[in-house]
């Protein structure tokens, strides 16, 4: 079938290149190369990355059949594979907890596994077998919907750099121990944990992502953190717990991260930070903090606004700021004409107190404000930002869609504000 004149273009390339090509193919195509020619028969069998995703699945049959087929395919493939396996990933929603997975993990633990990603379907959580904890070379672990129960003799993954646990059942002591026993841990992501109270000790940690209901988080020893992203959900009893706590959450959370470059908060994050006593002037400056994104900030809550201000004023090199507000439905009931005007809002001298006029946000270039309702404190914030940012290039304001009438009012006020930057463009986005 090939032309007689042409010589084989590819079979004699070094295995590293063949591997480089084969791992970029869907696993089925990679295995199919075994029938190309005698040289290609087992080239696929020594690839070190095995990724099983939805492409392996023929969705035409019913679910049980599909699951059985996938299990058989993976088992057979592992049996025919030779050599180390560095990456093993399963992201198949049809696959649920089944005994074969234990065997696969045992096999992998004997084959130098370095990266393991297990994302099974909705259903019973898969209980991770103890052989996983013997994988000495593990450097990346991602588990979705599993149960993790490290044995008491477990001393940690000494090579682990990245840990991502999503909807994983694990006791708080175990997770804390796991984090602190992995000395090289750089990236930690915990999602959908219920009521977790955590104290994180990870001297090399650079990236932290948290999402879920966290009762309490203390970043005890994380001096190298560069990026934090938190989406904090709240339940009633967590809220109660917060009422009673006197610790300053802000300091507990952000007190020990001087190298922070990027901070992202969602939902109740600013509220969480605002709990506890006011730290006053912050002891540390975030010299590297260049991006702050705070979503769902309540501009009715003075403490939250204070947090926002503290963050902004403690970040001399802040370049980009994104804030989104919360729309309170009582606006609609009262009618927009009832939104008090700036002069009779309570506590307005707060702004004069907290924002010294000499405060300069000397690097701030981009500001995005979304879901703005036009409440007095929002306007004051805008006034403050405009007045203190000498190199501001663009400020985008997207008003909340429900308060159409007050938009004109907002605009009128906006126009009055002094701008420190002659280049500043204000983009007011109206639907």
């Amino acid at each position: 079938m090939g032309d007689a004149s042409g010589s084989d273009l590819i079979s004699d390339l070094p295995q590293s290149i063949i591997e480089s090509i084969l791992v970029r193919l869907p696993i089925r195509d990679a295995v199919r190369t075994s029938i190309l020619s005698s040289k290609w028969r087992y080239k696929w069998a020594s690839i070190t990355q095995l990724v099983f995703d939805e492409k392996c699945v023929d969705t035409c049959s019913d679910r049980d059949v599909v699951e059985k087929t996938v299990v058989k395919f993976i088992t057979r493939l592992l049996f025919l594979h030779q050599g180390p396996i560095h990456k093993f990933q399963i992201t198949i929603s049809y696959l649920q907890s089944c005994p074969e997975i234990d065997q696969w993990i045992l096999f992998l633990s004997r084959n130098d596994i370095k990266e393991l990603v297990l994302e099974l379907g909705e259903g019973e959580f898969f209980r991770i077998p103890s052989c996983l904890f013997k994988c000495k070379k593990l450097c990346r672990l991602e588990l979705f919907r599993c149960e993790l129960d490290p044995p008491p003799s477990f001393k940690g993954f000494l090579c682990l750099r990245s840990l991502n646990l999503h909807q994983v059942l694990i006791s708080p002591e175990a997770i804390e121990a796991l984090i602190s026993n992995c000395p090289l841990l750089e990236s930690l992501s915990l999602s959908y944990f219920d009521s977790l109270a955590l104290s994180i000790r990870a001297p090399n940690l650079k990236y932290l992502y948290l999402e879920g209901e966290f009762r309490d988080i203390c970043l005890e020893d994380t001096p190298q953190l560069v990026e934090i992203s938190v989406a904090m959900y709240m339940t009633d009893d967590i809220a109660e717990h917060f009422e009673q706590s006197a610790d300053c959450n802000f300091v507990k959370f952000l007190g020990g991260v001087p190298n922070l470059e990027r901070l992202v908060g969602h939902i109740y994050f600013t509220k969480y930070l605002s709990i506890g006593n006011d730290p006053g002037c912050l002891p540390i400056m975030y010299k590297n903090l260049e991006t702050i994104e705070l979503n769902q900030v309540s501009f009715e809550d003075m403490k939250e606004i204070l947090i926002v201000l503290r963050l902004i004023t403690s970040s001399p090199n802040l370049k980009e700021l994104q804030i989104s507000g919360i729309f309170y439905t009582n606006f609609l009931w009262q009618g927009s004409s009832n939104i008090p005007s700036a002069t009779d809002a309570p506590d307005l001298d707060f702004w004069e107190k907290e924002c010294p006029s000499k405060c300069r946000l000397s690097q701030l270039r981009v500001v995005h404000l979304t879901d703005m309702c036009g409440v007095p404190h929002e306007m004051e914030l805008i006034k403050f930002l405009l007045g203190s940012s000498p190199v501001l290039e663009i400020m985008t304001i997207i008003p909340c869609v429900y308060v159409v009438e007050s938009q004109l009012k907002m605009l009128t006020e906006l126009v009055k504000f002094r701008r420190a930057s002659a280049k500043a463009e204000i983009v007011f986005v109206r639907e």
Binding site: M1, G2, D3, G6, S7, D8, L9, I10, S11, L13, P14, S16, I17, S20, I21, L22, R24, L25, P26, R28, D29, V31, R32, T33, S34, I35, L36, S37, S38, K39, W40, R41, D58, T69, K72, F73, R76, L77, L80
Partner: protein, 344 residues
């Protein structure tokens, strides 16, 4: 060229000398060439490349054409001000070349340890391979089709793990062998063919005369799969019966026949080896004789299969599976198993 003494390499020196696989030496900008880790190492650690005499000898796999492409790549990406979009767009245009060049380029980039370019070309090659049929891939890369049928049938290649597809593959392999045999027989130009038919008839009627029932019990337990197995085995056993029988009956025809018989025997041999790897879903071992009335049907099927082999895969599937549906299970005699029984 006068022999200049080896000067100490100064970082400001703009040009270095590289020697490619064909022996030719060229002068290139040092800054660009140093993007390649191997060249960088040669310059810094070994001090090579400063003049024509100590030109850096590039690895064998770096042809002049490949080197020129690599230097273009390095030159573009070395410039820091470019956006990601620009770089991606350049990469996409850059990899538009024929497959031979692409393979040479990959090889050269790998030997110069220029990982980003190796990744780029690997991605391109993977895209070329993805979704193509084996024949297409072979023709793109000039791969020899040198695997035997048996090797191609090994279980993992049947990634959908459908027993019908495995059966299908077996049938095709058998068919191809039979067609080859027929060709060979025709070429030999012997008239034994007629004789063969007759002897097969004889055999079959002889066999058919002994209708025993112990098989009946077993057969009644058969599932649909066994039915299909029998169909396949029918065809092969037809051939086997004819070959092996001729061994006995037509003594002086043994020589040309034995080749065929050996061929079939080998095939069955390797298939049984095959069976040790393959986890057979159906019971092994029992071959049943056929009803003479079905023989015509089988001959027809042989032609069908030959036609099917030349048509497209999905159509093939459709046809064969619908053919399969039409057959009914038949009970067969147990006698003659000694001749026709396949080694389990």
């Amino acid at each position: 060229m006068s022999e200049i003494d080896m000067e100490v390499i100064k970082p400001e020196q703009p040009y270095i000398w590289l020697q490619t696989s064909d022996g030719s030496i060229q002068q290139v900008e040092q800054e660009i060439a140093m993007v390649c880790p191997l060249i960088c190492e040669e310059v810094i650690q070994k001090g090579m490349g400063s003049s024509k005499n100590c030109a850096i000898c590039l690895p064998q796999r770096v042809t002049p054409a490949a080197l020129s492409l690599i230097l273009d790549y390095c030159q573009f990406h070395h410039v820091s001000g470019r956006s990601n979009k620009e770089r991606k767009s350049y990469d996409e245009k850059f990899t538009r070349m024929d497959t031979k060049q692409l393979c040479e380029l990959t090889s050269a980039a790998d030997s110069l340890q220029l990982k980003p370019l190796v990744d780029l070309t690997s991605r391109t090659l993977a895209r070329i391979i993805e979704g193509k049929s084996p024949e297409e891939i072979r023709s793109v890369f000039n791969l020899p089709d040198d695997l035997t049928e048996e090797e191609k049938l090994e279980p993992l290649n049947n990634t959908t793990d459908d027993p019908r597809i495995r059966l299908l593959n077996r049938l095709y392999a058998k068919k191809r062998k039979e067609l080859k045999e027929r060709e060979r027989l025709k070429n030999v130009e012997v008239e034994e063919e007629h004789v063969d038919d007759r002897s097969v008839d004889d055999l079959l009627s002889f066999i058919n005369g002994n209708d025993a029932d112990p098989k009946g019990m077993k057969n009644s337990k058969n599932k649909k799969k066994n039915r299909r197995k029998k169909e396949q085995l029918k065809i092969s056993s037809l051939k086997e019966a004819s070959e092996l029988n001729n061994k006995e009956i037509n003594g002086h025809n043994i020589r040309p026949q034995t080749d065929g018989a050996n061929g079939i025997a080998e095939a069955s041999q390797s298939n049984t080896e095959d069976s040790t790897f393959v986890s057979r879903e159906f019971d092994d071992g029992d071959i049943d004789e056929m009803d003479p009335a079905l023989q015509e049907k089988l001959d027809r099927e042989v032609e069908d299969f030959a036609r099917i082999l030349n048509s497209d895969w999905p159509e093939r599937m459709q046809e064969l599976l619908s053919l399969g549906q039409e057959r009914k299970a038949t009970l067969f005699a147990s006698n003659g198993n000694s001749i026709l029984r396949r080694n389990a």
